[in-house]
């Protein structure tokens, strides 16, 4: 597996679409709902196989989420798909009242989240969605790191009786988790054991954390790496163990440093096991022009920069 070779990079949307089509073939209650996003949500295959079960409401996200709640009330299992920036931003009150508060069995699929839309600019970046959704009761918030975890999380979401927010990217990533990986909501995966510091990430950033750990290892720093796909409910046990056993925590995410994964980890740390922490992410600004990869580097999340931030943090231990 070589992350630098384009041919080994996978678009997690394809894994989502392929599992969704399989679910729909097995269960006629499964429906897809979208906002004119058949292409960007990779629903072309679903549309050709199950045309009557593709509910395209047009460019109308508030209605899309409400329709999803109504479909669930009528016994359907709706996967409501749209660019994460519009799905969560435009329809946040519907997500709160119709989905979370009503506890509707709706699967919200935020496509092209984080800064996946790169050069399209901050209107299309979705670096607020963890913050907006993780304060809502009843709503697991999940950002898988590769095609394997995406497929496992989609399959889990279909069997889970309740709302789910699944946050996907369109940026190609290599495989990281083993084939056959079983997704467990609220459980972090230890990708690498370590005792000096713990690096915690999800989504596209997990890959950069693994590379940062490789760099640190060369300097004799033994970093634990946790893939924490579930932001809510957060894996408190894994965070407390990391704090107590490694004494320092670095988080990185394709999200604002305010209110996302780093904040969720910090909340557990201050309540249960205070240790020095560094939160990496978008530092509360609107991003300049650039691709997703460029912007992650720009905001200090190149593997080398993560390693440097970790070394600086360890001086505070």
């Amino acid at each position: 597996m070589d992350a630098t070779t384009k041919t080994n990079l996978y678009d997690c949307r394809d894994a989502f679409a392929s599992v969704l089509e399989k679910l729909a073939a097995d269960n006629e209650a499964v429906v897809a709902v979208c906002n004119d996003s058949v292409g960007s949500s990779k629903l072309g295959g679903f549309k050709s196989k199950f045309p009557e079960r593709l509910v395209n409401v047009g460019i109308a996200e508030q209605n899309m989420v409400g329709v999803g709640a109504g479909l669930a009330n009528g016994g359907r299992i709706p996967f409501v798909c749209g660019a994460s920036c519009f799905l969560t931003g435009r329809a946040l009150e519907q997500i709160k009242a119709d989905i979370s508060y009503s506890n509707a069995n709706v699967k919200l699929i935020g496509i092209s989240s984080g800064m996946a839309y790169g050069e399209l600019g901050p209107t299309h970046h979705s670096i607020e969605d963890f913050a907006w959704t993780r304060v809502l009761p009843n709503l697991p918030v999940i950002a898988p790191c590769d095609r394997i975890e995406t497929a496992a999380a989609v399959a889990w979401a279909a069997t889970y009786d309740g709302p789910v927010f699944l946050r996907l990217s369109r940026v190609g990533v290599p495989d990281l988790l083993p084939e056959g990986h079983v997704f467990e909501v609220g459980k972090a995966n230890v990708l690498r054991e370590g005792t000096d510091v713990t690096l915690i990430a999800n989504g596209t950033l997990t890959h950069r954390m693994v590379k940062a750990a490789d760099i640190l290892a060369k300097d004799g720093i033994n970093a634990r790496v946790l893939n924490m796909a579930t932001v809510r409910p957060i894996d408190e046990a894994a965070i407390i163990a990391a704090a107590k056993e490694t004494g320092a925590i670095v988080t990185a995410e394709e999200h604002s440093i305010y209110g996302g994964l780093g904040s969720a980890v910090a909340e557990v740390v201050v309540d249960h096991a205070p240790v020095p922490m560094k939160r990496l992410g978008v530092p509360g600004v609107y991003a300049p022009t650039g691709s997703a990869e460029f912007l992650l580097d720009e905001f200090g999340m190149a593997p080398g920069a993560i390693a440097e931030a970790t070394v600086a943090l360890l001086r505070r231990k």
Binding site: N63, G66, V67, G70, L71, N73, A97, D98
Partner: protein, 269 residues
């Protein structure tokens, strides 16, 4: 159930509603009075519902999009056997499941949580679409306020309802001509509603929404396209000094006013 009997139930619901508002010291009495005849016709004549088995998949769906008149719904649900009638006295009290807006996870007979305006109709479109997908025979009804139609999400849903050919969906607009702050006319005048709905591809029926003899046939009517009933109503209907006044959106009657309201509603019984 026939018109005269339904009218009597509507008056009983109004009376219990006014008593509960007075006791709780809060409520949205004007809009509750305007909507009571519609709620009565739905729950005692039109809806195919199962108080003993409220989640029966075959049930007709009713969504109270103007969730702020929850009390009128609670009184109706209690009278229809979904919740105990004595529970109405807990309205707004600490830990009561009857808060100011209906909760579907606590109150049987409530289908989705409403409160913020412009939410019920999109959800109702989803319910009606689900029936189309599964082949279920149930019908879906949703009640909005007229001021509520200023919310853009409603028009997204109206477009979708027409596009999806939802002949199993009925939208009732409680057209009492007043919203919280002022009249509809002086705020953002959507009237006349009929041509707007027709332009979006809906069949429209206009009725006196406080006349039971007009309410029932309109609700029972089946149309080839999604159906909108523009129900011309009076805010505060049934209580002389509240009628047709924007002052009674959520005002609570004082003792004298309360006694007069009870007297008027009781005489009508």
């Amino acid at each position: 159930m026939e018109t005269r009997e339904l009218e009597q139930i509507a008056r009983q619901i109004r009376l219990r509603d006014v008593q509960a508002v007075y006791e709780a010291g809060a409520g949205h009495i004007g809009g509750e009075m305007s909507a009571t005849d519609i709620l009565t016709a739905l729950f005692f004549r039109v809806l195919n519902i199962f108080p003993e088995n409220p989640k029966n998949p075959e049930r007709d769906r009713f969504v109270l999009s103007k969730g702020h008149v929850a009390l009128a719904l609670y009184v109706t649900l209690a009278k229809r056997g979904f919740i105990p009638e004595e529970e109405i006295s807990t309205f707004l009290k600490p830990m009561s499941r009857l808060n100011g807006h209906p909760n579907c996870n606590k109150v049987p007979g409530v289908e989705t949580n409403t409160g913020p305006l412009g939410h019920g109709l999109p959800v109702a479109v989803g319910m009606a679409k689900a029936a189309k997908l599964s082949g279920a025979a149930y019908r879906t009804f949703v009640l909005t306020g007229d001021g509520e139609m200023q919310e853009g999400s409603n028009w997204e849903a109206i477009m979708a309802g027409a596009q999806f050919g939802l002949d199993n969906l009925t939208l009732i607009i409680d057209h009492n001509r007043f919203q919280q702050g002022a009249s509809l006319k002086d705020t953002n005048d959507l009237a006349p509603l009929r041509p707007r709905l027709e332009a979006f591809g809906w069949d429209v029926t206009e009725i006196n929404g406080n006349a039971m003899a007009e309410v029932v046939p309109a609700l029972e009517k089946r149309t080839a396209r999604p159906h909108c009933i523009v129900a011309h109503t009076n805010k505060g209907h049934g209580i002389s000094f509240m009628q047709d006044s924007g002052d009674w959106h959520h005002k609570v009657p004082n003792k004298d006013q309360y006694e007069l309201a009870v007297k008027e509603l009781s005489e009508a019984l």
